[in-house]
């Protein structure tokens, strides 16, 4: 186990913003929440599954809602601790660790605040290692692990616990509850044992996020060789440096959809098009797919290497488009049906990142 320091926290925020792949919510509020939780309840340990009782219960937590609402209805604490405790009560068992569902965006950090308050370690694993918009888009779904029983709670003490037949139904019921509970809620789902986390989870996600953030932070400080070290560490590639020449946004059924067009900085005959559904999902150069979901598309400010989220994309920005390979645990049967291009309505084959995978 190792203690998460305040310095780790800064790197984790940067890593989480990058792994948000343009979405996942601004980690700023979650970071303030973690700081206060550490002040009030003490530090948090990150534990590898090998350091915990294999039969121990692991419970996840995350914020579910609309980022705009969360910016106004700031987290309280009980919605997260409440959903975890309610699920534990339903299962009749106390958890030995807290796990993030989504290491990417603000949900990377919420579990740390909850772990601090509950005096539990955070297990160094998750189910996405990037941001995705729906509960069933996890490696656990691929492994046949049900999202339910699952709980959704608000800050006032209202809790629902669901038992569902599929993870897709779990997603629908969770959203419907959130609409009624103020659109800024805590969720706990995919209860499982440490052994199952070890077998089916994405391993080392939290450490990866901190390390990735640290490498990117070195790039931002302009350290010699830092860009190469960052790309080598992540297996990533820089695909394009260009200027945003068009951004078209529209909203349908809760998805902030959009299309982004970037013109190459030095060769204006080259353009890259990126399709957005909350996250950056598909990148095409001259009509040909170059990075496709579930691999990550990240946009960095060309000047200072700060990750840019989809809400703040604007005409004229000079950006670098980076592709990062998704966690290797994704590569198993059923991946493309669940989180590949077709799952998001793109009639384009998944295109593995060229030369990126070792």
């Amino acid at each position: 186990m190792r203690e998460l320091t305040l310095e780790d926290l800064d790197d984790m925020v940067l890593g989480a913003t990058l792994l948000g792949a343009g979405g996942g919510g601004d980690p700023y509020i979650a970071r303030l929440m973690v700081r206060q939780a550490m002040e009030d309840f003490g530090s948090v340990m990150i534990a590898s599954p090998d350091e915990l009782d294999p039969d121990g219960l692991v419970l996840t937590t995350a914020v579910i809602g609309a980022p705009t609402v969360i910016s106004e209805k700031v987290p309280a604490g009980p919605e997260f601790v409440g959903c975890v405790n309610s699920l534990a009560a339903y299962l009749g068992k106390k958890p030995v660790a807290i796990m993030p569902i989504e290491v990417g965006g603000m949900n990377t950090l919420i579990p740390i605040a909850v772990a601090a308050e509950m005096g539990l370690p955070v297990i160094d694993a998750d189910s996405m290692r990037r941001a995705f918009p729906q509960i069933e888009m996890t490696v656990f779904t691929l492994a046949g692990i049900p999202a339910s029983p699952m709980s959704v709670a608000d800050e006032k003490g209202n809790v629902v616990v669901f038992q569902t037949t599929t993870n897709q139904v779990a997603e629908k019921l969770a959203r419907a509850s959130v609409m009624q509970l103020g659109m800024a809620n805590g969720i706990s789902c995919y209860p499982m044992t440490v052994k199952q986390v070890r077998e089916f989870g994405i391993q080392g996600s939290m450490s990866y996020c901190v390390d990735l953030g640290r490498k990117l932070s070195a790039v931002q400080r302009g350290e010699a060789g830092a860009y190469d070290a960052f790309l080598e560490f992540s297996g990533g590639q820089k695909y394009f440096s260009g200027k945003v020449i068009d951004i078209d946004r529209r909203t349908t059924e809760g998805f902030a959809k959009g299309t982004l067009v970037i013109e190459h900085l030095t060769d204006p005959t080259r353009t890259m098009r990126i399709e957005i559904q909350n996250e950056l999902l598909m990148a095409f150069e001259d009509g040909k797919p170059v990075v496709t979901t579930p691999d990550l598309i990240c946009i960095l400010d060309h000047e200072n290497a700060q990750p840019i989220t989809t809400e703040t994309l604007a005409f004229g920005q000079r950006v670098d488009v980076i592709g990062l390979p998704c966690a290797p645990e994704w590569h198993q049967e059923g991946m493309l049906e669940l989180v590949g291009p077709k799952a998001f309505g793109y009639d384009v084959p998944y295109t593995p990142m060229e030369g990126a995978r070792k």
Binding site: P67, P78, G182
Partner: protein, 518 residues
Amino acid sequence: MSRLRIGIDVGGTNTDAVVVDQDGNVLASTKAATTLDPSDGIAAALKAVIEGIDKSHIKQAMLGTTHPANAIIQRKDLQQVGVLRLAAPSSLAIRPGAAWPKDLHATVIGPSAIIKGGYEYDGSEISPLDEQAVRDFAQKCKGVVNAIAVSCAFAPANYEQELRAAAIIAEELGEDYAVSLSHQVGAIGLLERENATILNASLFGVAKRVVDGFQSALLSHGLKVDSYLTQNDGTLMTAEEAIRLPILTVGSGPTNSMRGACALAKLSDALVIDVGGTSADVGILIDGFPRESSAAVEVGGVRTNFRMPDLISIGLGGGTIVREEDGGVRVGPDSVGYRVVTEALITGGSTLTLSDISTKGGRLEGFGDASKVSGVKDATVTAALAWVDEQVQILCDRMKASRTSLPLIAVGGGSHLVPDNIPGVAGVIRPAHHSVANAFGAAIAEASGAVDRVYRYEAEGRDACLDDAKRLATEAAIRAGADIDHVRITSVVEVPMSYLPGQGCRVQVKAAGPLAIH
């Protein structure tokens, strides 16, 4: 009879003043040094600018000032504030003042409490307001702090609880006790709005002194006129309002400069570049107003969310230092700043600056001694000017909202560096009087009103929701003094709510119009 307006702008270095007629002609202008007590500079500029003007024609006076911004940056003259948040049980995981710089926190934040209250996104209550808790908090502040900042969850959509809390505080501590309410200060984003509300309350003392100084300077010249201060968005509030909402003036300097530049060039849509000694700022005006930044704006190290012009700044100015290096030149980012008047080669100094390069390159004339740069290599001049041209083009590209080509207005002491031809820019304009663009911007400012709230389109339909927001913004502008016959909608921004079904949408609408003539 012509109706005249006075515009005064207090900047870091200079206090400028202009007298403008109703057609926007500059009748007089002056530049005085900003003084330690800025009121002295205001009085001096005022005295100089109205010399020879028929005072009976002067009807209005507008002030743009950096007093409040400087007070925050220098942690000077700020008063300690009680902080009351109406949101519990929500928001308890982040206390007021989280992430403030330690010194500012210690100076400004007094007693604080998060009590039951606040609204949900749909307008229902998170909790009914805990009135007894408001009373208890007021008593806790009594004799300890002289102002209270009240922030309620979703106050931009519903501020009844804030008004009720203010009424209770008045019952407990008296009608004159100073209260700052978040819905008057900022937009959606509770923590940022609360920060701005706290800073606002801490500035009450500064604001009172500024307004008193301004009004007594006017009166001492026999000017019984309506007096206004300019806000961050380039519109006006009355001097009385400014005493209650000083935080809304902290970004007015760049806005006045941009709006002034644009109006001097008689344009409503343009890019503006203000090049000083150390840095160049580029902004964009659409329909006469600066585009506002979507990113969080920090004031004195505190994250806020109020309306600020979207500016990009880089280290490029008349005093920027140029170094010859192996195989090329390095420009900046450091600068000799205002000392360019003694340290540049052309002014008898020993530092190669962009002003020297500009002189040798034929862009700057009539400043210093051109013979002093005869020794500078042509290759150095070419390389440095190529860097300047590239940077200016990049700034303009980044600022533009679309591929449409706009003119660029160049102002400021270093604007000679801006080339006449820039790819993607429809001509460079260098208006007359550009050195007092700030004060001119203050003099031509209008009254405005704004709305920022979440609508549910599925209930009423998008058009009805937008109409409602436009009506509310228009009414707010008229309340602020805009002429009912000339008020217009100046911006509509819709931000759909992601990650949830339904058609929730954040709508921001602004209306503005010239001051009504009474």
